[in-house]
């Protein structure tokens, strides 16, 4: 009995260890080949010779005109923060009213928002372009931020209203008796209690904003000078896909920051996903 359990543990660890290694192989190949010339990449993709390794190609990718890396990071971080400010900022008061007011109107409103979760946002982009044109926001950063926020609102609002329902009503009632108005209750009583769910929404929205390719590509236009990490990589890599001296260093520069953030925050990122999707 005991031996068979030890056997099965050993089997489990071996299997998972091998699978983890397999999952990491693409990343390993990406990292080592970013330091090698084309000839070496084609001849020996899995090994690296420390003596011939060079940062020359990384430097070239860093200085690429098609993908201005530093501006790409900054612009993408700006998008992440702006979209989160807009989508979380407007979702909190709306979710509060929906969660705390009984009656058909607000229940229907929740359903109306939730329906948005089933709309594939990248597909709706084609008609959105015409709406943005009519508003004069096509090709502008505010237009992009507003559209990306709009796609985040359904899920954000859904998990927020579910969370507010679990908060005790007696808290906002006490505040109301003390003479606090609705806005004040929302921002000084309810919002501080929502920290965990706001963090969840922030993480999930940040990941989707960071990785979005279609929205910036179509709304800002392929020729736009403002490039996100994904549109920049597309501009730099799509026409040179067999020139691995360009491909590997560019991809490495694109994935490095998000991987570092992931390694540092993995517990919160995965925990946020679990609590957002299952318990919300």
């Amino acid at each position: 009995m005991k031996r068979s359990r030890r056997m099965s543990t050993a089997l489990r660890i071996t299997f998972l260890g091998l699978l983890s290694a397999a999952m990491l192989v693409p990343m390993y190949i990406l990292v080592i080949n970013a330091f090698k010339p084309q000839q070496d990449i084609l001849l020996s993709p899995l090994t690296i010779n420390p003596e011939t390794a060079t940062t020359e190609f990384l430097a070239a990718a860093w200085n690429s005109t098609q993908f201005p890396v530093v501006e790409g990071y900054i612009f993408t971080i700006f998008l992440v923060i702006a979209c989160n400010l807009v989508s979380i900022g407007v979702s909190i008061p709306a979710a509060y009213v929906i969660a705390r007011t009984p009656g058909f109107v607000f229940a229907a409103m929740l359903m109306f928002f939730v329906a948005g979760m089933f709309i594939p946002s990248q597909i709706i982009l084609v008609p959105t372009i015409f709406v943005l044109k009519a508003l004069g926001l096509m090709g502008t950063v505010p237009g992009l931020v507003l559209f990306m926020s709009a796609t985040m609102i359904p899920f954000t609002l859904f998990i927020f209203s579910g969370y507010i329902r679990m908060l005790p009503r007696s808290l906002d009632e006490a505040a109301a008796i003390d003479g606090a108005g609705r806005l004040r209750i929302i921002w000084t009583i309810v919002f501080p209690l929502m920290k965990p769910i706001v963090a969840t929404a922030f993480i999930l929205n940040a990941l989707s904003a960071w990785n979005d390719f279609v929205s910036p590509q179509l709304i800002l236009g392929p020729g736009s000078t403002a490039k996100t990490i994904t549109t920049g990589v597309y501009a730099a890599v799509s026409s040179y896909s067999t020139n691995y001296e360009i491909v590997f260093p560019t991809l490495l520069l694109a994935v490095a920051p998000i991987l570092v953030i992931f390694i540092a925050m993995q517990r919160f990122i995965m925990g946020g996903l679990a609590s957002g999707a299952v318990k919300g």
Binding site: I13, I124, A150
Partner: protein, 325 residues
């Protein structure tokens, strides 16, 4: 009773019912100014959502009945169901194949993703250092953008790619991962599964944590085998998690576009052309806004029908889970 006090507080707090049981009892209406404020608080969210999500859907429906080409000087001409007829009859046989590609990806992909995720979740559910390392490693592809995942695997599996170069030196032959139509489709599915199962894995682990420990123990004491415990305790208790994981995986597979663009660009010969690719990379750039809109409308309808039928089908399993949990 204290009901009066309660209603009093509720009224001061500006609300009608108090306990769920009393929710339906018509209490005095809140003053109109308070109700206006409620409306105003939902307004920003409603405005952004309606203008940029709901109105575009409306536009898509409208354009789908026209031959609009997207050029500002031209106005849409109403053609009724022509675009839809064209999609269903499909004389050039390019759209049906992308429907088949998308359906294959959605069905095979979500089955694989969920099977792998559930299996690994069972292996990784206990808390330990090794397991949290394993979870992070399985999850990391999800933080990479789908476009970059596509480019990365293209560099690995392309004819000149690292894996083919390796096979050449070791076995003296190459595999047409991306150059043969059938191979390319299965490679695409494999890459999508690689990138996605980590998300579902995390959801399954969260679901497994909610399975009642007492029940598991009771079943074991009663002499149930590992498989029996899984079949009769764990699986029913996971019912609502399974619904969430199936819906989220199907919805994200239905709109596969970025990864296709990076990995195969729809090729070879349209073998990996998904429905979303057809809309964004074929119809729309060719100024067929009417057709692209009809395709988008069909995709939204398909996503809606699929989600609701999954929810309906899972209802029985979920009500069973309440009996167990």
């Amino acid at each position: 009773m204290t009901n009066d006090t309660v209603t009093g507080i509720a009224r001061t707090a500006g609300r009608r019912g108090f306990s769920p049981a009393r929710g339906r009892v018509p209490a005095r209406r809140r003053p109109i100014s308070a109700r206006l404020l409620d409306g105003a608080l939902t307004l920003p969210a409603l405005a952004i959502y309606i203008v940029l999500m709901v109105v575009p859907v409306g536009y898509a429906v409208y354009y789908s009945f026209t031959t609009y080409n997207g050029i500002p000087s031209q106005s849409p001409t109403w053609v009724g169901l022509d675009n839809y007829r064209r999609i269903f009859e499909d004389p050039a046989n390019e759209m049906h194949s992308s429907v088949m590609v998308t359906a294959t990806i959605a069905i095979v992909g979500s089955l694989l993703v969920n099977a792998i995720a559930l299996g690994l979740a069972l292996l990784l559910q206990r808390k330990s250092r090794f397991n949290s390392f394993g979870r992070a490693v399985m999850f990391y592809p999800h933080v990479l953008s789908a476009l970059i995942v596509g480019f990365l695997w293209q560099a690995l599996l392309g004819p000149q790619g690292a894996i083919n170069a390796l096979m050449e030196t070791m076995m003296g032959s190459r595999l047409p991962f991306l150059s043969d139509p059938t191979w390319a489709l299965w490679t695409l599915i494999g890459v999508i599964v690689w990138a996605q199962f980590g998300v579902q894995l995390v959801l399954y682990i969260a679901g497994l944590q909610a399975v009642s420990v007492d029940l598991l123990e009771a079943a074991r004491i009663d002499g149930a085998s590992r498989f029996q415990v899984f079949r009769h305790v764990t699986w029913p208790a996971l019912a609502s998690t399974v619904t969430v994981t199936i819906i989220t995986s199907v919805l994200s597979l239905l709109k596969a576009y970025d990864v296709v663009l990076g990995l195969t660009n729809g090729g070879p010969g349209g073998a990996t052309q998904t429905w979303a690719y057809e809309i964004l990379a074929v119809s729309f750039p060719n100024n067929k806004v009417g057709l692209a809109s009809a395709q988008a409308v069909l995709l939204i309808i398909a996503a809606g029908i699929l989600s609701f039928s999954i929810i309906a089908m899972r209802r029985k399993a979920e009500s069973g889970s309440e009996a167990v949990g």
